[in-house]
């Protein structure tokens, strides 16, 4: 039994992958609570795909001569793409009387299409697109684990500092305004934080699957807890545990690693939803 559980992690790539996935789990599990609590899952998906044009521009600008795109440029490009998606959605909402989901979906398809057009200009784009969508958790080098740890700590520090304004605008923006919260700036900060979590996550599990780590653990935690601090702790725990468990499944059954991690997170939600007493 012990060998089934621990032997796979004797390999460096499995240890690095597990560490990176756990860090991303803690980050996405925590930030995801704000997504679930605000009912903005579609916006999160939109931002997750909105990073694509930013990644494409970074690849086009930095891979030209060396053939190897610059990692920092990709992260910066992805963050810019995610923030542009959230910002664009906010602009549409402000200038029109469309529903939230319509404005979000319009921006979503625009950024996705723009990303695909741009990335089709990059040589070997099919390979890049697969890595973008599904990540490559088993090829995370040690320095990237350290970078993920640093970025996770930075995002969680901002969340800790701005916890009260974030909760107030999520509860009711009108009440938040009367309590002296600068509502629009706070909502923007929350969007940037979401984009940052997605950017950190997509390098490990990919843009498509990062959403699974944002939503499924937080949804499970929402069913198990009554208060936000407890919800964040449970969600982070589920998401973090999904990393090594998913990798074990991937190792023993020889299936895709990133998708296995997300399947474990979704399974945790499914078990919670089934076993929890119906209300």
């Amino acid at each position: 039994m012990e060998s089934l559980l621990f032997e796979p992690f004797e390999a460096d790539f499995m240890r690095n992958g597990a560490a990176a996935a756990m860090l991303v789990g803690v980050l996405c599990g925590t930030v995801g609570c704000f997504v679930v609590m605000r009912g903005t899952a579609l916006l999160a998906e939109s931002v997750a795909h909105g990073v694509l044009p930013g990644v494409a521009v970074a690849v086009l600008l930095t891979a030209g001569t060396s053939g190897d795109p610059d990692k920092a440029a990709i992260l910066a490009g992805a963050l810019a793409g995610g923030v542009a998606t959230a910002g664009g959605t906010a602009v549409i909402l402000r200038r029109t009387r469309l529903r939230d989901d319509t404005a979000t979906a319009v921006m979503f398809v625009f950024m996705l299409a723009l990303g695909v057009v741009l990335i089709s200009r990059v040589e070997g784009f099919a390979v890049d697109l697969t890595a973008f969508l599904f990540g490559d958790v088993l090829s995370v080098p040690g320095w990237e684990v350290a970078l993920t740890a640093g970025l996770t700590a930075a995002v969680l520090a901002v969340l800790w500092l701005l916890y009260r304004p974030f909760v107030l605008v999520s509860f009711d923006r009108r009440r938040a305004a009367s309590l002296g919260v600068p509502v629009e700036r706070t909502e923007l900060a929350l969007m940037v934080l979401l984009a940052a979590a997605i950017v950190v996550g997509f390098t490990v599990v990919g843009a498509l699957l990062v959403l699974g780590l944002l939503i499924a653990p937080a949804a499970a935690a929402a069913l198990l807890t009554k208060r936000l601090p407890a919800m964040m702790a449970v969600s982070a725990g589920i998401a973090a545990a999904s990393g090594p468990l998913g990798l074990l499944i991937s190792w023993h059954f020889e299936v895709a690693a990133g998708a296995s991690i997300v399947l474990v997170a979704v399974a945790a939600f499914a078990v919670t939803a089934v076993l929890r007493p119906a209300r």
Binding site: R164, L168, A177, L179, V181, K226
Partner: protein
């Protein structure tokens, strides 16, 4: 306590408030009357800084403002207990990270007691009935210890005991020297329970002592004739739903 000078607020091409000039004195209770879409909620939104005036200014005589918006739609699964929600009322004073002091805890406990939600403190807000939820939200307002309180239709969808509790509390706040503005459609109560009445229909119709202002002429002008006398009481006949005011 609250002054509007030539205050105009538009939503696109729609004029919500036009050239409003009014000075609300300190330490009074004020009923804000008007049909749906008359600018009551817009006045409150402008007062807390949620709506930028298109023209003119709105000035508050204090930073200690508490606002109960109309129709707060709380997600049933929002992860906050009643105590958490009432505690949020203290966060405006506490800032980003300052811990609750003994006085903050006293204010929270006092507010929960006044609104009779202390026995519900561990319940999630989304699990409560409409009346219990409104009491919890009013307890959040009470915990703010504000000098100016803006309550937008606080009696909508609440049961009779809650209505009585809130009415009593508004009187207590006024007696403590706070200024309480209440958007309401209850014409009979407006004349009886409040010091002053502000009648709006996008423009200022009338403002003054409650009994003197709640005349049939003023109310007819405010509600564009949609009032009727039933058993000696004037009632609004067009108040179908609590939409945007």
């Amino acid at each position: 306590m609250l002054t509007a000078r030539d205050l105009t607020v538009r939503y696109g091409n729609v004029v919500a408030l036009e050239a409003l000039d009014v000075e609300i004195p300190r330490g009074r209770s004020i009923a804000v009357l008007g049909p749906n879409g008359s600018g009551k909620s817009t006045l409150f939104a402008a007062a807390v800084g949620l709506r930028e005036p298109t023209a003119g200014v709105v000035e508050r005589g204090t930073d200690r403002v508490a606002y109960l918006p109309q129709g707060l739609a709380v997600e049933p699964m929002f992860p906050a207990t009643v105590r958490d929600v009432v505690t949020m009322g203290r966060w405006g004073d506490l800032g980003l990270r300052r811990r609750m002091s003994a006085r903050d805890r006293e204010l929270v406990a006092g507010a929960m007691g006044e609104l009779a939600v202390d026995h519900l403190e561990h319940r999630r807000l989304g699990e409560l009935s409409g009346g219990q939820r409104q009491r919890a939200l009013l307890a959040q307002v009470a915990a703010q210890d504000a000098e100016l309180l803006l309550l937008d239709e606080p009696f909508t969808g609440v049961d009779r005991p809650t209505e009585d509790t809130v009415r009593k509390l508004i009187g207590t706040w006024r007696d403590e020297g706070r200024t309480v503005m209440v958007a309401t459609h209850d014409l009979a109560r407006a004349a009886r329970d409040y010091d002053l009445v502000l009648a709006l229909n996008r423009r200022l119709i009338a403002f003054g002592l409650a009994a003197a202002t709640c005349t049939e002429d003023v109310l007819a002008a405010t509600f564009a004739g949609h009032i009727a006398r039933v058993g000696g009481l004037l009632i609004e006949t067009e108040h179908r739903h609590p939409g945007a005011g």
